[in-house]
Amino acid sequence: MVFTTSHKVLLLKVVIHLAAFLPLLNLYYLAFNDQLGADPVQEVIHFTGIGAFNLLLVTLTVSPIAKRFKQGYLLQVRRLLGLYTFSYAFMHLLNFLVFDLQLAWSLFFNEVVKRPYITIGMIAFVLLTALAITSLDRIKRKMGKSWQSLHNYSYFIAILVSVHFYWSVKSEIISPLFYMVLTVALLAFRYKKIKTLILSIFVKNIRSK
């Protein structure tokens, strides 16, 4: 049997499924059975939050690696990673709403509006949702060029998420700072692209004036 590119992709996908899905199963099994420390609510919120950020950074690492090592097939697992990023972010939000606030909807909306770190977290989640929905092949095809412009927002999401993390802590800023540096480093690989994106926004603004 020849180990083809599609085999590699399949194998990678299996690994991603195992590495992303099993920890979630384990987390909720422990949490429902009160075996996740004294405050399982805080634990599931933190685990899914940092998990979503890790997955986002891994997703953003795919294309620089694929380019650097000329492994184009890697791009084929990017959507799966992105969807897991979304799933973790979704659970993060759900944990906050269901287990922490216990469906106190008015408190939830108040917190989203009043607390800057929650506001930007929510914006990041809404954008992630848009990316997840438009990852369907049919929609992607219909969107044509605008698909890429929409998915360029992943860089913006990474910045929002790193600020969300930084603003959420009391005094222990070392790991949020570390994540910020990682984010900036990953964006630095796209220096030219991001510069063009920002310039194009300015150009549009000037034209519309």
């Binding site: 405050d39 599931v44 287990f99 917190e111 009043k114 607390r115 009391k170 005094s171 222990e172």
Partner: protein, 273 residues
């Protein structure tokens, strides 16, 4: 931890206590790590005997207590108190100890004693968070806290040497800590080596770090939000996993208004938060 002799608290039996295992494994004690589970893991070799607690400053009879004095100088009593963390979770803990007022009367404060300053042990070799910035969460050490003299003399203010019938485990502030049940938990300083009667309002650890988030008074107040989250309600940590329905309204002064509100009656509590 060893068993203690004490009179039990018969007045608060209706409060549902947080299970002992949770009280001793979910701690904010940055000297042993900023994560909730780290203090229980990193403090087990902490030496509490010998210990010296000095009470000094504006008083007539300054004294130094050693380890045995902490549990023998005063009759010990159990106090089942609600503990409300500024992070909006809470517990119910059966503390054992004596009134700070009794201790202060012993040193006879003079008329210049307007505030009380408390200090935690500074021993980076035993307390890894004090030397490792990542572990210690970036706060200044030694940890200091303070009370106004009338707050310190309030009968509710407890010097705790134990919980759940035994001496304090290190992660809960052994061998002696403060418990001020109507204030956010960070006021209840742990592993105290010095109590000083002073003239001026002291600079306290969290207040110095972020004055807009952590006031000197830090009275539990559902009407005054932390800038980054609501203080109107809290999650009570009891038994039960994720589906424990435990979000409850936060009460002014953590439900101890009757005993303490008079001390603040002419103060604007949203200014002096």
């Amino acid at each position: 931890t060893t068993p203690l002799k004490f009179t039990s608290d018969k007045d608060n039996l209706s409060l549902i206590k947080t299970p002992e295992q949770k009280v001793i494994s979910h701690n904010n004690f940055y000297e042993f790590g900023a994560k909730k589970n780290q203090p229980a893991e990193l403090s087990q070799n902490f030496k509490v005997n010998p210990w010296q607690l000095t009470i000094s400053g504006e008083c007539d009879n300054p004294i130094t207590l050693d380890y045995d004095d902490l549990t023998t100088l005063f009759a010990l009593e159990e106090r089942i108190y609600r503990l409300r963390c500024v992070e909006a979770w809470s517990m119910v803990v059966p503390w054992i100890g004596f009134s700070l007022a009794d201790l202060l009367k012993k040193v006879a404060p003079n008329s210049s004693a307007k505030y009380v300053l408390f200090e935690t042990l500074h021993d980076p070799e035993q307390m890894p968070g004090q030397s490792d910035r990542r572990l210690g969460g970036g706060i200044a050490y030694p940890y200091v806290e303070g009370l106004r003299i009338d707050e310190a003399m309030n009968p509710l203010t407890l010097m705790s040497v134990g919980l759940y019938g035994k001496t304090l485990p290190p992660q809960n502030g052994a061998p002696i800590r403060l418990v001020v049940p109507w204030k956010y938990g960070f006021k209840s300083i742990k592993s105290i080596v010095s109590i000083k009667l002073v003239r001026e309002k002291p600079q306290t650890t969290w207040n110095k770090l972020a004055a807009n988030e952590y006031g000197f008074y830090a009275n539990v107040n559902p009407a005054h939000d932390h800038p980054r989250w609501s203080q109107a309600s809290e999650r009570r940590i009891t038994s039960g996993g994720l589906f424990a329905r435990n979000r409850i309204e936060t009460l002014p002064f953590n439900g101890y208004g009757e005993q303490v509100a008079h001390m603040y009656k002419n103060m604007n509590l949203s200014k002096y938060y």
